[in-house]
Structures are given as C-alpha cells and as structure tokens.
Symmetry: C2
Subunit: 340 residues, 2 copies
Amino acid sequence: MGVTIKDVAREAKVSVASVSRALNGHGGVTAETLERIREVAARLRYIPHGAARSLITRRTHTIGALLPDLYGEFFSELIRGIDLAARVHGLQLLVSSSHDGAAEAASALRAMQGRVDGLLVMSPHADAAFLRQNLPVGLPTVLMNTVLERDDYAALSVDNAGGARLVVEHLLGEGYRRIAFIQGPVGNHDVAEREQAYREALAARVPGVPPIVLPGEFDEASGYRAGQRLIAMSPRPDAVFAANDMMAIGCMAAIREAGLRIPEDIAVAGFDDVPMARYVSPALTTAGVRIAELGKAALEQLAGQIEGDEAPAVHMRIAAELMVRASTTRNQKSKAARAD
Amino acid sequence: MGVTIKDVAREAKVSVASVSRALNGHGGVTAETLERIREVAARLRYIPHGAARSLITRRTHTIGALLPDLYGEFFSELIRGIDLAARVHGLQLLVSSSHDGAAEAASALRAMQGRVDGLLVMSPHADAAFLRQNLPVGLPTVLMNTVLERDDYAALSVDNAGGARLVVEHLLGEGYRRIAFIQGPVGNHDVAEREQAYREALAARVPGVPPIVLPGEFDEASGYRAGQRLIAMSPRPDAVFAANDMMAIGCMAAIREAGLRIPEDIAVAGFDDVPMARYVSPALTTAGVRIAELGKAALEQLAGQIEGDEAPAVHMRIAAELMVRASTTRNQKSKAARAD
DNA sequence: AGCATCGATGAAAACGTTTACGTTGCCCTC
DNA sequence: GAGGGCAACGTAAACGTTTTCATCGATGCT
C-alpha cells in the first residue's frame, strides 16, 4: 500500500542506505544526491514507517500512560501536564484508560510493549503482583498515586494526608467542632489517606469529639445524599469535609435546599480545587494540588530515566495547598470572600 | 534487553513458529506443547513486541488523534468520548496535541505513520494542502471541526451555526434587542461560524439593529475585559452572547462588579455548555453539544473505515441544543431557574 | 501392503527500517 | 606511479514477529 524507502531508493537510483542517511541527515551523501533524494521523497510523499524504524532503533519516542479513567477535571489536567512536558522532550503519548477490570488493565499494559519507551502508571489495579506480572522488565516506569511504597519503581503521589490535615485544621481554627467527612469510592487509596488524616487530625486536636463518616461515590449525587443524611443528624454537624469537590458541591445543594446557610449553619470544604470550586456560591474552600504539575513532574522523572538510563527510584509527594474561600469563613476577613 | 519469542522457543524446545501459533491461539499445536509454551512464556515474563508484530501484521490496533490542545472541558470530553468508543473496538489511542505551528503539527502527524491504523484530525492547520502533504496515502482518516468541505475525507463537526442561531433567537424571543457578540481567537473556524450565524440571525429577525462585536480569546479574562467594554457602551447592549462559556462567565463577573443585574439589566449566554455553566449564578444559558458524542461518532466512523475498508466519506454535523437557564430569563417561568 | 490424508512442527521469507562493514573511485603524498 | 587515505555509496544483517510452505510421522482406507 504505502510507499516505502525502497520505492524512494529505486526512483532516486540509489540504495536504501543512502536514502536513510540522506533523510536522517547522517551525512555521507553528496549535496546533489541529497537534493535528489529529498525531491523524490517529497514527490512520492514518502513517510517513514514508525514501527519498522523503532524496531531497529529501539526507540519509539512515545510514552504510555495507563490511567483508570479520563472523566473529569482531574484527568484532564493530569494529561495536559503530561502532554506539555512530553512535548518538550519530543515524546508522544499513548494513553489507555477506562479499564474496569484488572485483566483489561493488564492487556492494555501488555499491548504497550514495544510501542513505548517508558510507562506512566496510575491504576487501582497496580499492586506489586500486577506490576511484576505485566510490566515489561527493564522498561522505565513511573507510578502515580499508587499504594505501592516499595523502592522498585519511581513513584509520585499527591500529599493527601497533608491536604486533608490542612482542611481539618482550618475548620477547627474557624471554630467548627463537629466536622463530618464524606468518603469516596471504597478501596480508593486517595480517599483512604484523606480519611485517615481527617481522623488523626481530629483525634490530635479535639480528642473528645468523635469522627462522623458518611459514604460517597465522588459524584455530585452522592454528595447530595450525604448532605441530606447529615442535616438529619442530631446533634447536627457544623462542618463537612468532602473527599472531593464534586461531592462538596452536591452537599451544598442539599444544605441550601434544607434552608440552612453556608457557612453560618454548616461549613463545607472539599478536596481537589476543581475550577468550578471558585464559581459556586459561596465559593468552596478546598485543598488543591496543581494536578498538571503532578503530571509534569511524573513525565520529567520518566524522561530522566529514559534519557540517562539511571534508575533513581525517587519517591515524591506533590504538596497540596489550602484554598480558603467563603464556604468555611464565618467572618468576612478572608480575601477569598469577595462580593457575591 | 527484553525477552523475545526466540527465548521462549529455545526454552520450550520448539520453533518460534509454534510459540507464535500457541500464544495466538491459532491452533496447530498439541495440548501438551501448548501448555508447555504457555508455562515457559509466563515464567520468562514474555510480552510480545508490539512494533515487530504490527510490522508484519499491518495492524496496530491504535488510532492517532491530532488535537490542537488538551486544555479545558472541551478536549477532556472529546477525548473521553473517543476513548470510550475506542475501547469498544479494542483500539488504543495515540494522542498528539499542543502543536502551535503547522510544522510541528506536520511532524506529529508524520510520526504517526506506521504506528496507527487510522487518524482523527482536528487542527487549525489542517487545510487541504497540509493534509495532502502530510497524511499518509490510504490511511483511514476522519476530520473533526475542520474548514475542509471537500469530499476527500470523512468529516464531523459541531453545528456551530445552528447553535448560535438558537441562542440569538432565544434572546430575541425573551425580548432582548441590542445583543452583543464576544468573539474567540482570530482565525478560529468555530468562532467564525458562530459569529456569522449571529449576524445572519440578527439581520433576518431585527433588520434595523446593528451587530455589536467585541474581541475575545476564549478565556475568562478576555470575557471579563469584553464585559467591561460592553458596560461602558451607550446605548448599552441589553444582552451578550459569548462565543464560549468561559468568556461568558468572565463577562458575568464584570457585569456584577459594575452593580448591574443579570438578566434584568444584561442577559448573558454562552456556547459549549461546560459543566460549570450550571453552577454559576445565575446559571448560564448556553448552546451545548454533547462533545463526547462527537468524539464517539468520529471514532465509530473511523473504525468503520478501518474494519470494513469502505471509504464512505460521510459529512456529518452534530446538533447543538439550547440549554435555557436563569442568565437569560427575565421572568421566572423557566424550569432551570430553581431556587438559588 | 500401499497410498492418500491429515495434524503437528520447523525452516525461512517477509514486513520497513538502520547501520556495520565493504567496495569503489578519487585525490594527495612520497 | 604506487600506495594510502577518505568520501560516497552499496550490501547485507539485524530488529521481533507472523505466516506460508515443506517435512515428517501416523493414521485411515482400499
């Protein structure tokens, strides 16, 4: 079908080796033959076959990203950060996502063998056994937000505990005491870290007050339901910390519909700092991580492993920062509480 | 470095051909040899080399997506739609984006040769000459939101004109007359279509009223600036239609800060129906396209071209639907204007 | 018993490149 | 003028697969 290097060679009356040298600028060809080869290649619309090239070169200039999902702001930002950094390093991006089973994730991972120079893995299935089984040996790999804490691979994750601590301490600082927590999907590692930090912060700062934990599913609807349950409690919590922003927003809707005021009656805080958090009213206090930075840092780490073949196996945590907004500030002293 | 099919063959004391047959389930191997090969392959952690395989197979099970950018809700949704559909067809996704120059886009496109079975192209640089020059001949391709109207390639686009018409006619129906339009980046094809439809709808329905057009850059800040300019005009426009939602949101901020009310003093409408549009207050009227549907439809079309090698060269427009919300409804009759 | 058939297996070609190595012809130097 | 050096170019191997074809033994049939 396509036109190959042989066609160009035949048409330009040289060997395939010369065509390769000419087109890759390796020198060793006269100016006039180079020109002739260029002309023929352009005329024939010759485009080198990437698979064939990388078979011999052992370089694909591509990195694979194994993600659990592509939905929502988090992955959008993550991919953007990865892509931006990849572009700097001249790398392309092979993404694979939405695999709900471990088997599917495994086959996606295996399908990347030979097509990528390195791997960015973020998957709930990525435990030690899974990786040992499906990760090509010797392939540079960086893990993101994984449960794994061994030193076999480089790993980057968001500082869930630190962020959650910031939120809880802020709420306590504002005078709230009965602080509820809305969980995310069961088994989610980020959620577990956030919840544990919430419990620990509470135990450390207000030892007498028991934690209040409600289930959630990361989506707005489950936040709404949690909000309804929360309102019905007695004594009613005076603040709620949702494991992500979308649930916090759902929760706010439930609180408002019950005729209660935010933050006077109940304060609401989230996690992630999605763009929308600034726009809801009142604006949502949340712990944000520059997700794009996470993606960028992960790719830089991977690129380092690929280029210089050092395997430093860094473990790094991306810090979360607290964005204080109107949803948790009783008094108007906060600068985030602008005229709404 | 890695373990190849030869290693497995040697270890299992068979030929590479038998290993290939066994592992691909092509039959022609005894049950016991099959089992032995499987065992060896698992023990050696053999993973087939994708590039080598697709070199001979002429199938990569991968489609390439050339996108202008990855930032924001639009691309997030688009990729999600593509990815979801790709998964159904067993295809992986090689994305390339953020190429600001035509040269960069070209090299990205060429780098995909031999690594993909088909191409999804959405690029401002993708004019006829560009495609003829850089598109591998015979590679299935679907264009998205492109200026191209020739029948050479299949093409899908959002119905910008239809959506813009819906918005303008809705505003006119609500009694607004001096309707301003905020543009997007110059040269953007979508924006051009929206603006033209705006002008045409105005000319058709209220022939005397001149169009009012302000520059914009698709981001919130430029919407804010446009809002400030708009407020200072006399006579002041009583409605504004921004070429996308983020600018509309920026514009709303400017209007509010000037002490004017939305929609009583100035109505605001956008385009895209980003998730945030429902959450700003007042909620934003906008023309939405199910972007994920666009991505899905594009991939389905491409998959059709790849599997059955028919090249129907369909041209299809994804309809936009009007989401009427509080930002344009003077009276409370709209169901979207819930208690805020 | 002889012959055709069939299933399992191996040898080798092919896919489209890059690159190590040879070969050629030229120029320069002694 | 012979030899050496060098630049340009060609030959062929290599990358890791799949697949066609040939081989071989065993089996079934007459």
